[in-house]
Symmetry: D2
Subunit: 471 residues, 4 copies
Amino acid sequence: MMPDKFHDECGLIGIWNHKEASNLAYLGLYAQQHRGQEGAGVAALDRERRHFTLHKNIGLVADVFSNYDFSALPGDGAIGHVRYTTAGGHLVANVQPFYARIALGNVAIAHNGNLVNTDPLRDELIRSGAIFSATSDTEVMLHLIARAARPHIPLSEVVISALSKVKGAYSLLIMFDDRLFAVRDPHGVRPLAIGKLHDAHVFASETCAFDLIGATYLRDVAPGEIVEVGSDGELKSYFPFPVERESPCIFEYIYFARPDSNIFGKSVYSIRKAMGYELAREHPVDADIVIPVPDSGVTAALGYSEESKVPMELGLIRNHYVGRTFIEPKQAIRDFGVKVKLNANAEVLAGRRVIVIDDSIVRGTTSRKLVQMLRSAGARELHLRISAPPTTDPCFYGIDTPSKDQLIASHKSVEQIAEYLEVDSLAYLSLDGLYRAVRSVKGKFCDACFTGKYPLGTPAAFDKRQRELFE
Amino acid sequence: MMPDKFHDECGLIGIWNHKEASNLAYLGLYAQQHRGQEGAGVAALDRERRHFTLHKNIGLVADVFSNYDFSALPGDGAIGHVRYTTAGGHLVANVQPFYARIALGNVAIAHNGNLVNTDPLRDELIRSGAIFSATSDTEVMLHLIARAARPHIPLSEVVISALSKVKGAYSLLIMFDDRLFAVRDPHGVRPLAIGKLHDAHVFASETCAFDLIGATYLRDVAPGEIVEVGSDGELKSYFPFPVERESPCIFEYIYFARPDSNIFGKSVYSIRKAMGYELAREHPVDADIVIPVPDSGVTAALGYSEESKVPMELGLIRNHYVGRTFIEPKQAIRDFGVKVKLNANAEVLAGRRVIVIDDSIVRGTTSRKLVQMLRSAGARELHLRISAPPTTDPCFYGIDTPSKDQLIASHKSVEQIAEYLEVDSLAYLSLDGLYRAVRSVKGKFCDACFTGKYPLGTPAAFDKRQRELFE
Amino acid sequence: MMPDKFHDECGLIGIWNHKEASNLAYLGLYAQQHRGQEGAGVAALDRERRHFTLHKNIGLVADVFSNYDFSALPGDGAIGHVRYTTAGGHLVANVQPFYARIALGNVAIAHNGNLVNTDPLRDELIRSGAIFSATSDTEVMLHLIARAARPHIPLSEVVISALSKVKGAYSLLIMFDDRLFAVRDPHGVRPLAIGKLHDAHVFASETCAFDLIGATYLRDVAPGEIVEVGSDGELKSYFPFPVERESPCIFEYIYFARPDSNIFGKSVYSIRKAMGYELAREHPVDADIVIPVPDSGVTAALGYSEESKVPMELGLIRNHYVGRTFIEPKQAIRDFGVKVKLNANAEVLAGRRVIVIDDSIVRGTTSRKLVQMLRSAGARELHLRISAPPTTDPCFYGIDTPSKDQLIASHKSVEQIAEYLEVDSLAYLSLDGLYRAVRSVKGKFCDACFTGKYPLGTPAAFDKRQRELFE
Amino acid sequence: MMPDKFHDECGLIGIWNHKEASNLAYLGLYAQQHRGQEGAGVAALDRERRHFTLHKNIGLVADVFSNYDFSALPGDGAIGHVRYTTAGGHLVANVQPFYARIALGNVAIAHNGNLVNTDPLRDELIRSGAIFSATSDTEVMLHLIARAARPHIPLSEVVISALSKVKGAYSLLIMFDDRLFAVRDPHGVRPLAIGKLHDAHVFASETCAFDLIGATYLRDVAPGEIVEVGSDGELKSYFPFPVERESPCIFEYIYFARPDSNIFGKSVYSIRKAMGYELAREHPVDADIVIPVPDSGVTAALGYSEESKVPMELGLIRNHYVGRTFIEPKQAIRDFGVKVKLNANAEVLAGRRVIVIDDSIVRGTTSRKLVQMLRSAGARELHLRISAPPTTDPCFYGIDTPSKDQLIASHKSVEQIAEYLEVDSLAYLSLDGLYRAVRSVKGKFCDACFTGKYPLGTPAAFDKRQRELFE
C-alpha cells in the first residue's frame, strides 16, 4: 500500500442462498483486499438451525483465513468485511462483521462508511444503559437495531426504524436469522452492487468481487434503497426515506478502486482514463515522455499519452516483494520507504523531459521523494500532472484522510506546492474536468475533499483521537 | 493438564495503586495459570487520563504476553483474568476482562463463577434492547452495571444495584475510571483474597499469586462483601445483601489449586494432606507401598503414607515436556494420551502390593488406563484410594464438569467402579472424612458435586450447548 | 510469482568494505527478491577477528530477516543469496551462502548458475572421502576450493585451481577471511555487476540492487574474469582460463529480470521494448487494442503499441494482494489460480479485436485460461503475440524450466498451439527478431532454450529427481 | 529446565525394522526430551529405495514435529536425536542427526558424548581437504567414516576403522543404506540400551523411551561394543578395540535422568533413593521435616526421610506452566527466575527446622535464592543436604558444565559454601557413600566431576568458545 494517499476504509461482500456462502464471501474479500488491509471477517448463517458463526481477526484476508476450514462457517448465507484503519490502533474489537444476539434473534452487520451523528447517538444510547465495547459507528447501528425490535413487526420495519436515526454515509449488509438486508444511505455515498450467481444473490462494494466468484452484475443498490432477500430468494425493495440529493463519492474513481471494477454503474477504468484525456487537454506540456506513478497512475497516464501523443514509458518500476517490515541501515537518510517500493528507470529518464502522472498529492512528502529519485536518474525536466483537483479537505464519510492542516493543498497554492516538490511545473485537473471525465455535472457527486462542501454535514465534534482511546 | 478431571474455570488478579500494575497483573496470572489455560487478559487504567487499555487473547499467559511491552498497558490500576473452557468453542469474544464504555465512563470486569439466573436476565435485557456479543455471564453483569448507572449516585450503589439482580456464584473485580471493586457473592462460593504490596492493594483468587509478586496476604473478601478502593487507597467495605448461608466450594481444596495457596483462609496443602490422613484411617489396606497419581495426588499420598506407615514411592513418573499436540503411530491402540504424560516405574511396582492415591474419578477412563499401566509394570495388587467422596453431580457454580450421565459415580456403585477399573479394591473418602480434613462441619461448604444439594439452586434450563451456539 | 513461466534460480549480492555490510546485503537481496523466493541468506565477515557469521533460512527475504538485528552479522564484508527452487523439495540444507571451515580458514560462497559436470566431480570427490550434506553444485565448489588449498600459495591460485575443474554456468561470490572474489564463468552465462558505494565495492546479479543501496554501476565482471578485492580495497583482475565463446543467457532479458536493471551492460527495459517493436513489425494484425499480460508483458506491449499504432489498454488487472495459499470452493472448476491473480477488464475488451502480448508460453495451461477469461469478458478476436521465440528446450545453466516434454512448443507447431489455446491467431518473435532487439547477432548469446544448441554442453545424465532425493 | 545444574547433552533413539520407524523415533525423543531441549531431528531410511529423509530443527520435539506428517519420513529404519547446548549459540547446523552422501552411499549419524581429540582430528582432516560446516564432534566422525570407506570391505570394518581414530566418550547410532550400527566407546561413558518391539530392534539412551513405545529392554550395548543389525534383523556384535577400564558416567544417576529409566542396567530411581539413605546415614540432623528441591531432589528426599524417619513435606511447589520468556517488572530485584518456577510453601515451613535435599550445587546462585525464599516463608533452621559429592571439576565427556572457576565447590570449602548460601548447615554425600548407593566401588565409574580424575584424558586445548565462533 502506498503511503501518503487517501484510502478506502472498507469493503463488503454478501452471499445469499449458496451452499458455499462463507467460502465465496472469503473470495469476495480477497478480490476487495485493496479496500482494507487491517482486518477481515466473515459471518455465516445456517438458516435451518438459525445458527450464526463468525471468524474474524486483524490481518490480511489470506492471513486471517490461512488454512481455514470453511465447514466451520456453515450455511448458505454469509457476509464479509475488510477494514482499513488509520492510526496504530489495531483494535481487534473493531474488526467486522459485528455480531449480536438481540431480542429478534441473531444479527450480524458489516458497514462501509461513516456516520456524522455517532457521538450524540452513542451518548444517548449510553445514557439509556447501552454498553459499547468498540469504537466504531457500526456498534451504534447494532444498538439501534436491537432497540428498534418490537414483536410482530417485520424486520424491514426494524431496519427502517433504526436507520431513520442515523445520519451520514453508509452501505450496509445486515443478516438476520432468515433474511439479509443490503442498504445504501439516501445520499448513496458509498457503493454497493448486486450480483447473481445461479440461484444466489451476491452483494459487493466493487464488482471485481463478482468476477472472481463468477457472478454477474445486476445493478447497484440505489441510494436510499433497502434491499431485502429472504427464504424465497426474491429481492424486495424499500425506499422509506425522503428523497435527498444523491452524493456518491467521486473519489472512489480516483484512486485505490480496482480499475476492473464498476462503481456507481460506471467503469473505473474508463473514467480514470478519461481523467487522463482531460488532464492532457487542460494542461499540455512539451515533453518527451509520459510516465505514471504505479500502479494507480497507470490508467490516467495511458489516457494522457493517448490524447497528447506523447509516448508513455515506465519510468518508475515497482518492487513486487515489499514486505511489512524493512530494516534500514543505521546511517541511512530518513525514510527509505518509497525507494523500496519504486525505483527510477534511468534508461527512459536520462536526459528526457518527463510528464509524471499521479492521481493525488496528499501531504506531499512522498511526491517530493519521487521527484528527487527521478532527478537522480537523469530526468531533465519534470512536469507533474495530477489527474484530480487539489485535495484540500478531509473526508468524514468513509475515506481515510489526514486532517486538513496536513493536506498540502489546503494551505499552499499550486505554485507553492510545485516549489516544494521541486518540479518544473505542476498542474491539477480542474473540478470541471473531473466531472467531464465522470460524464456528470457538478452537484451530482460528493466532492467535499476538493471543495469543502459537505452534502451530509460534518460531525459536530469530530475528534478521531477521542474515539480511538481504547485498544 | 490432566484429562478427565474437574477444572476450575477462572483465576482473577487485581492491582491498585502500583506504577507497574499491568506487569504485576500479568505475573499474578502467571502464578494462577493452572486456574485457566484457554485465554488470558489484562485491562489497565491510567487514572489521571481516565484511560483504559486492554490486551487479551486466546492462549496461555506466556503466549498472550510473549514479548509484550507493558508500557502499552499504562497506569497504576489493572485487573487480569485467566479462563478455562470446556468445549472446543474457543471464543475470543469470551476472553476476559470485558471492557465497556457506559454512561458512567469506562468499566472493565473480570469474573470467576457462574450465575444461575443468566438466562432470564439475558432474556429480559435483550427484550429491552441490549445486545450480546459473547456468551458468558459476565456480559450480563456488564449490562446490569450499565443500566444501574444513575447520575449523582455513588458507584458503590451502582454495583450493589446491579448485583442485587443476579443469583449464583461470582467473585468479581470491577474497575471504573477512579476506583476498583472486589466482590464475592453472598454464599462466598469462589475465593478472592486481598493482599498488600507497599502502597498497593492486590486481589487474587489464590494466594500463590501474592507470593510471586511479593505481596502479603491480608484477608479474604468476605462472602457477600463488596470491597471498594479508590484514590485514597483505603479499603471500604459494604455488606448490602441479606445474610445467607456461606457455601464456599469444597472442591477448591481437592484438585487443581496450587498446594502453596491459601483458599478461604486455609492452606490447601494442609487440608489435602489431612485428606490423606482421613483416607488412611477410613480405608486402610495391607500393602507394601503407597504411590500418588502425580501431581495432584502427591500431598494426599504423603498424608496417607504418614498415617498408615506404608512407605510412599514414586510409582508413576511425569514427563515434564508434554506439548499440546502429540502424533501417535497409526496402528497404536487408541488413546496414547496418558502414557505420554505418566510412565509406570517398574522398579518400585514389580511384585508389590500397591495403594494408589488419586483425588477423584470423573469418567473413569483415565483411571482405567493408569491401572493397566501399573499392572503391566508388575504391580501385584492395586488398591485405589480416592481422597474425596464420589463425584456424582455436575457443578453449576464455576467448576467445569461433565454432565451427570458422564460421571461414573452417578450410575455405578463403588463395587461396580472397582470392577470397571479392574482394581483389587477401591475406596473413597467419606463426606464426613472430607469435612474433618477441612476442619469444618457439613453444611458449611458447597458440596453439591458429592451430594447433589445445590445451595444456590440450579439454572432453570441449563443448556450449555445452547449457550455455545456461537463462535 | 506467475505459474507456468521460466524462472531465474538465484540472485547474488556482495558488499566489501562497508561498516553496514550485512544490512546492505539484505537490501540488495530485497531488490533482487524476484530472482528467488525459496530461501535467503547473508554471510558476514568481521575481518579484524577473521570471524564469520551466517543467517539464512527458507522464505522470502522479508521473512528470513523479519525484525532481524544486523549487529548479529558484524563486519564490513558480506555476501548474500536468494534462491529459487522447483519441486516441493524445500531443503534448508540447500539455502545459500554456504560456509565452511577449511585448511585456509573460513570461506563462504554464493552461487548463481548450474554446472554440467557436477555428477562426475561429486562422484570423484566422494570416492576420495568427501561428504556431501546438500544437493547443490555449490557444495562441489566448496570441496574443490578446500582441496585446492596449499600452504604458501595465494588464494587467487586456489580459486583458479578449483574452478579449472568445473564446467558450466556460474557467477560466484567467494569470501575468505581477508578477501572477496567475484567470478563469472568463461562463457559469462549468468550476470554479475560491479558497483561502488563510497569506499565500498558492491556486486550484484542485477543493477536494481545498486539503485536501492545508492551504489553506482561500474561495469560487469567479464566472462571468465576473477575479480579479487582485499584489504587495500583495490580490484585485481585475473583471466586464467582459455578464451571461450561468450554465451550470456539471452533469456535474462525476456522475463523476470526487473526492467530497471542493466544486465550484461544493457537495459532490460529498452531491450524488452525493442522486442515489442520487432514483434509488431514481424507479426502485425488488424486489431482495436493491444493488451499486456501483467506484469512482465507490459514493456513489450508498450513497444508493440508504439510501433503498430494500435492503442494499449489494460485488459488484465492484477490483484496486488495475492497470498501464498488460497482456499477454493469445493465445487469450483479446477485451477482457480490465475483468476485470483488477474482479472479481465470487460470495459476495454467487450466487442474488441485484441492483441495480447506475453513473453512466453511454457506449458500453455495458464495461457489457455487467460484466453478463456478474455473471451468471457467479451473480446471479439484474440491475437496472441509472444515477444520471444518458442521455448522448445530446457535450460541446464541456471534457469528453472520444465523438462522438454512439458514444453508445449517442443511437440506442437505454432498452429497446433494456437488451436490448443483457442486464439484467433498466434505468432512468436523470430530468433532473428530477438537478436535485433538485443542489438546483437546470433551466436553471441546462449539461446539454447529456443534452439536446443547448448554452448556448454549438457550434463551426461542430468537427472534432477536423482539429485533431489533428499530432504 | 532448572538453571544452574549440570545437563546431559544429548539423547538418542534408533528403530530398525518397523513400518512406523520415524513416528516411533519421534516418540522415543519425546520421552527423552529432558536430555536435550535445543534441537531435535529424525533421519529415516527407506531400505528398498535406499532413500534417506531427514527432518530436524531447533526447538523442542513437540515444536519441531508439530503437526508433522510422518509419511514424509518413510521407511522402516530411523534414528533420532535431541540436543542440549550451553551458550546462546543455537546453531541449526549443529542439530542432529547428521546426514551425508559418501562413497559408500548414504549415512546418517546421531551422537551422544564428546571426543577429546576432536581438534587434532579436525585439523588433520581440514589439512587434507575436508570442509566443516558445523562445530560438533559428530561432523569429525562423519568425515572419518567417509574416508575409511574402501570398496569390497564390509561396513563394520569401515566403522571400526573410523572409530579407531577417535578418543573420548561416545554413544552412536550410525545408519547406512542397509544396516544400522549402535556403538558405545570402550569406556562406556554414555549409556545406550537395546530393546525389542515385535520384530523391531530399538535403541535408546534411556529405557523410558522403550516404555512409551511399548518396547522391552533387552540389554545395554556393552562398553566398546559395536552392534550391527541389517536385513536379517539379527544383532551382530563386534568388540574390535583393546579392553579398557570401564568408566560409565556416575553423574547420569544424580540428576536429570528420568527416575523411571534404567541406565547402565540399573534403576535410576532406586540408586537415587539409596543416595538419600546414605546421605541420611552420613549426615543426620535433628529437624522437623525433610523437603526436596523439585523435581530432581524428590527421590533422594524420599530416601532420606525413610532412613531418618524425619517426615517429608513439599516445602517448595513447582509452577507447571513456566514458559520460555517471562517479563519482569522494571524495578524487580534481578533474577526473578527461580521464583517463577518454585514457590515456598509457608504452611509447612513456618517455624520448622528444615532439611532441604538437593542433588547438586553448581554455581550456588540458585541455591542461595532458594534459601532466601525458604527463610522468608518462615523456616527456622535450614540444613542443606546434597545427595552427591561437591562438583569441583567440569565434564569433557558429554555433560554440560560451567568451567572450573565457576563451580563453587572448586574454590570454596563446604563451610564457605554454607556461609555463602546462608544455611545453618551444609553437607554433601561422600564419594564412598555415592558408590555405595550405586552398589559399586571406586574406579568402576567416571567420577571426574567430583575428583578431577579423567579416565579418558582431557582435550589438549579445550576451548569451547573457539568452537562456537560460528552461528
